[in-house]
Symmetry: C2
Subunit: 331 residues, 2 copies
């Protein structure tokens, strides 16, 4: 089997250069990089990861455990985090908890046994036994977008209070008083923070405080549709709906159209936390808080790289923007 | 540091049971599973993956390298594949090529050095040096949805010819003669197969054979929008658009609305390969080939598990269905 020395000789570079290229370091020239990779491929060289990591006690692999890879927010975040990790010489392996705490635990265990160098994590809500073990092991960890109270790890996430502030200001400007709010689980920090910001601000913005207009789903389309139906069934009229994340808004719009018909549903304005591809095509178009998933992913990786280098990582709330599509609407 | 013997003693189970639970085997009772996991968490036990894999020469980890995790088809496929892998006692690590052959190569290298047991792969198009090295290493591999000509590995993927057949029949039934076709890259097997099936069938279905109505993007929204604009600029009128994957349709619809305005764009019927969440909300609603991403993911994992067990895996084309939303449309 070819060794790294064979690769360096074939490529005509030093052993150190070959090693840097093959370990994914960014401190190599494009020319030596392409020669080393070509030589490695020609010789069928395969780095022995497990043996190497026992010697060096690092793997240059980061783990990213997201809540739901089918949620466009998380797939965008994962994409950006992975690009940033590669920029710093790390490979990023992804795992998907599917909003399921038990599945998250199984992946925490896998990542621990694969000896990743650090973990980026969007948690499901509480400290599970496996998360406690992961924290106790001293694995460097940052939270992405969701945090767990009492756990001492930096959070890189959306500024939820600011985002909800955009929505409240828009609702007032559009003259909505009766607004249905479809939230997410209170056990997830983003669900709790968005709901708290909405409740704290609604009266000041001239919005009804009738709690029959409030309900919550599971941050997935199906649970949100059920929550929307419960609000409709309570019979309190409303002129606008606020969905607390993208898939919640999808479920709410589906329920409105199924229960009220497309024509009557089109008289209700919808506003969303998270901006999705299709909001511009809806009737009327859906205005939305644009959650900066890319920045969250990138800054989270930089924070983890700082922790790995022994520097501090303070965490950060990332600002949102608001996309007002109402002027192009039918109202 | 706690050993597996300590965990077994604390949990009150045999060493074999503790080992099976901690290696993720499905052949354990729920009761012993929960006791072993609780004991492992209490004792801070962490399996030594790299050391273990050198001894056993397997890791119980499968790799899944998808083309673009932001494409809902692949995030759905990844989700289903991961559930199926867990069912068979494997952990699935995901990597995202972002439709970039060089990035795909970097992940093939990482997976090789991490010593995964097998690979599920949606390739970018051609045999790269790193893919050649991966194939030469004998790593069990199945292709998901996309294949590379001349590579001897089973393919689990959509029946593209059958799916395009649905679209052609629908176009004829709706009376469309002038149809714009926005395809994907011919270097990707799905792009080539869908285009070939469309070209072979269009005349028989009464569809114009004017090649100025054909163009192709990159299977992402931006490239498809540019292709749609090129067709518009050629000035040949059309009454329908066929987008060759979900993101292609998104880009085409965006371009139609930007170039023609929402009102005139709504007079053009759109049909898509891949069904997306929002197609029911579009004006008019978009009919689509439903690509069974979940079955492709699940059957691909079963094929890989068969290869790992030394059994044959013949590959399989998975049937599509067609969602006709035209009756609810405005026409």
């Amino acid at each position: 089997m070819a060794t790294i020395k064979d690769v360096a000789a074939r490529a005509g570079v030093s052993l150190g250069t070959a090693s840097r290229v093959l370990s994914g370091s960014s401190q190599t020239s494009p020319d030596s990089r392409s020669r080393v990779l070509a030589a490695a491929a020609e010789l069928g060289y395969i780095a022995n990861g497990p043996a190497r990591s026992l010697r060096r006690s690092r793997t240059d692999v980061l783990g990213l455990l997201v809540s739901d890879i089918r949620n466009p927010f998380f797939s965008e975040l994962a994409h950006a985090a992975e690009q940033e990790a590669r920029h710093h010489g790390y490979t990023m392996l992804l795992a998907n908890a599917n909003e399921d705490a038990e599945q998250a635990d199984a992946y925490l265990r896998t990542f621990a046994s694969q000896r990743i160098d650090g973990l980026l994590f969007s948690p499901q809500g509480t400290v599970s036994p496996q998360l406690a073990a992961t924290l106790a092991s001293g694995l460097p960890l940052v939270f992405l977008n969701r945090t767990i109270e009492g756990v001492d790890a930096p959070l890189y996430g959306t500024d939820n209070a600011e985002g909800v502030g955009h929505v409240l200001a828009w609702l007032r400007q559009r003259g909505h008083r009766d607004v249905a709010f479809i939230g997410g689980p209170d056990t997830i920090s983003t669900g709790a923070e968005r709901r708290a910001a909405y409740l704290a601000g609604r009266e000041k913005h001239g919005i009804s405080t009738d709690d029959r207009l409030l309900d919550a789903g599971d941050f997935l389309a199906s649970g949100a549709a059920e929550a929307m139906c419960r609000v409709i069934d309570r019979g309190v009229p409303f002129t606008a709906v606020f969905g607390a994340n993208g898939l919640t808004t999808l479920g709410a719009v589906r329920a409105l159209r199924e229960r009220l018909g497309a024509e009557q549903a089109a008289r209700i304005e919808v506003v969303s936390f998270d901006d999705l591809d299709w909001f511009e095509f809806a009737s009327p178009p859906i205005s939305a808080v644009r959650n900066d998933a890319s920045s969250i992913g990138r800054l989270g990786v930089r924070g983890l790289v700082d922790l790995l280098a022994g520097r501090g990582a303070p965490g950060r709330r990332i600002a949102t923007s608001f996309v007002d599509r109402s002027r192009r609407g039918v109202q």
